[in-house]
Amino acid sequence: MNSGIVTNLWPIPAVPCAASLAILSLSNARRKSAAVLAVIGQVFALGISIFAFVSTLQTYSFRAVQNFTWFTFGDQTLRLGFVLDPLAAAMLLMISLVGLCIFVFSIGYMAEDKNFTRFFAYLSFFSGAMLGLVIANSLLLLFIFWELVGLASYLLIGFWIERPSAAAAAKKAFITTRIGDMGFFLGMLWLYNRSGTLLFYDGGSGCLESAGLAMLGASPAVAGFIALLIFCGAIGKSGQFPLHVWLPDAMEGPTPVSALIHAATMVAAGVFLVARVYPLFSLGGINGVTSSLTVVVWIGVTTALMAALIAIAQADIKRILAYSTVSQLGLMMVSLGVGGVAAGIMHLLAHGFFKALLFLGSGSVIHGCHGEQDIRKMGGLRRLMPVTFVTYAIGMMALSGVPFFFSGAWTKEEILHATEHWPRSHAPYFLMLAGVVLTALYMTRQIIYVFFGNSRVASERAHESPRVMTMPLIALAVCAIFFSVVLTPAWPWLHAYLRGEPVQFDLARLIQPMLFLSLVLVGTGLGLGIWMYREAGVQNRQRSAEVDPLEYAQPTLFRFLANKMWIDELYGRTVIAFSWAAAQLSDWMDRYFWDGLVRGFGAVGRVFAMLTTSVDEHGINAGVDGTTAGTRGLGRLMSRAHSGQIQTYLAALAVGMLALLLLYAWLG
């Protein structure tokens, strides 16, 4: 095992984090140094990532680990580590490349923001944490970075802190993902309890290797539960149903943030997590079907279809993309669930590029339209913003899955292929086919609204973005196209790389039934979109320009979708109302029941104190006064814990120590 590079992996997360700290220490006016520092940190991470990637090419299924002891308690040691394998290396490369493009784009996009330096500090911090996440070799280390990216996401969604909606969205994102993380944490504890280690790979004794899996395999039900608990974390982070509600709201953050965190990298962490601990999910399965993987499939299917449907009826350019992200993440989950791990990861990587491209494109549109985000107010931008239009169209075609030249098409095909052969049920396959049509449909709708037709309110004074913003767009568009070279069935290099197999060139595999099927599906979606929205934004006798054609035809259905299937309202009425009621109940209990109890105790203490006082009065020396004071102090302590007297606190400590001694005596 060649571990030369793996010992030098730590700077990948460390350097962007250090850059973040350095930027934080700069004054608000040092904009240029902040941007330069952030970009240098990112370039550095990209450089090491490339080295790491190249060294994984040496052998098939390259895997190098470096573990170290974090601390020792008793005879247990807690060990963390880094791992380098094709999965980690590919993710590293994607994240640092997309991250770099987005950093450069942000220089233009955020140029007029007064908190420019703070933005870059957060962005670097996020990048460091995310890069650390993918190379973690311990579930605990992964969890640490997982929470750090959650924190970065929180900070960046709420970046425009003066907007109440941004603050609310940040809170919503943080709390919603925390629900999932709770499950993740419980799963981690249970896993540790079962296997005694949280390292993934440890020379044969890690929890994903034969010894650890054998220990878990003793009770497959428990292993399934652990896998599902860990999956809870992935549901929260990747915006899967039922915890998807935070992701569209997260679009309150600056657009580069949406591109980097809520489209390309962080939300993919959930998919990555499932792929990383895949042996746990597939443990004890027959034909690759286990109950936990079945749950993953159905959650993915639900999410993918639901989000695609909602996306059709949204008017905010970023929200459409957000729902499309949710839908694509669902698709990846389906792929993982049916056993197509490599296909899911390939789609994750390709999606990272083209979704970042789409988001940055939308950022460029918003920038050009002076902050307008409603697609019904745009239109005709293809003449005013040619570079943005061309790159956006490339991203749109990659997302819709137009075959041959766009990376998204091949990965989507691969996923459909994997889904088709799932032994348990064919329903996910057909639902996914419907999802492909829907994807093409809503992207067509969006692009017609934004770039075609006559110009409307917001697009009249639109202008093309500066070079610093268009260059990353072009770079990402080139990536989105050229990435397809390693994805084609004729030369499936990436697939082979991820699975650790030699790659073969075979032109015959290029033409498959699936290719025609997806051509038909995408054609249907595009055609349907063009037909439905041919008059979008055009005023005619029956309908004003602001009314969506679908809304005109099917008002009830449209309202149902436009209001996000009322899931937010449902949560508001049930979960949030319940916790509000619980809070009220606790408040009432606190006010009347517990307080009464405490007062009762206080009264007992006071009675006791009065008793001792009366005894004291017949006592002899002044010391007895002390006892009374002490007892009265005790009585006060019972009614109000905070006496303000340090000696009381100290005495409480000593009593606590006594209690421990007593416990020790009692336990023998």
Binding site: G623, G626, T627, L634, A651, L658, L661
Partner: protein, 160 residues
Amino acid sequence: MNGAAFIVISILTLAAALAAATLRKLMHAALSFAVAFVGIAAFFFLLGAEFVGLALVFIYIGAVAVLIVFTILLTRRDIEKDRGFNWSGVIIAVALFCGLTWSILKTPSLSIVAPHIRALTVKRIGEALMTSYVWPLQCIGLLLTAALIGALVLVMEEKR
């Protein structure tokens, strides 16, 4: 290890400590405090940790006890009012002592006599300080500096 010396030192130390805790006059208590620390240093000598014992003498009797005396002098006006004594503290302290003694006596593996060891020279301590404990040493240095500055800031005259 000498049994007689041990008995003498422990009686001296505990008596001085008790005096330091209970004497009415603050100045007497501070002096007893110094004597108690002489006793503890003697324990360290008895146990073969001469360097630590000397450090204890220097730091506690040379510095801390003097600081305490200074503080007493600087807050003199208040001393006359110090009459209170809290008896609940006695109960807690005695209970804790009984508990600790009980648990110590209950553990048979503690009734061992000292083995013969190589004398602990200052050279060995210095080596350890400069090799395996060099980081803690630097941290302690930083801490002491911070404490020094902090103490100065605390007692500086407030500017009005």
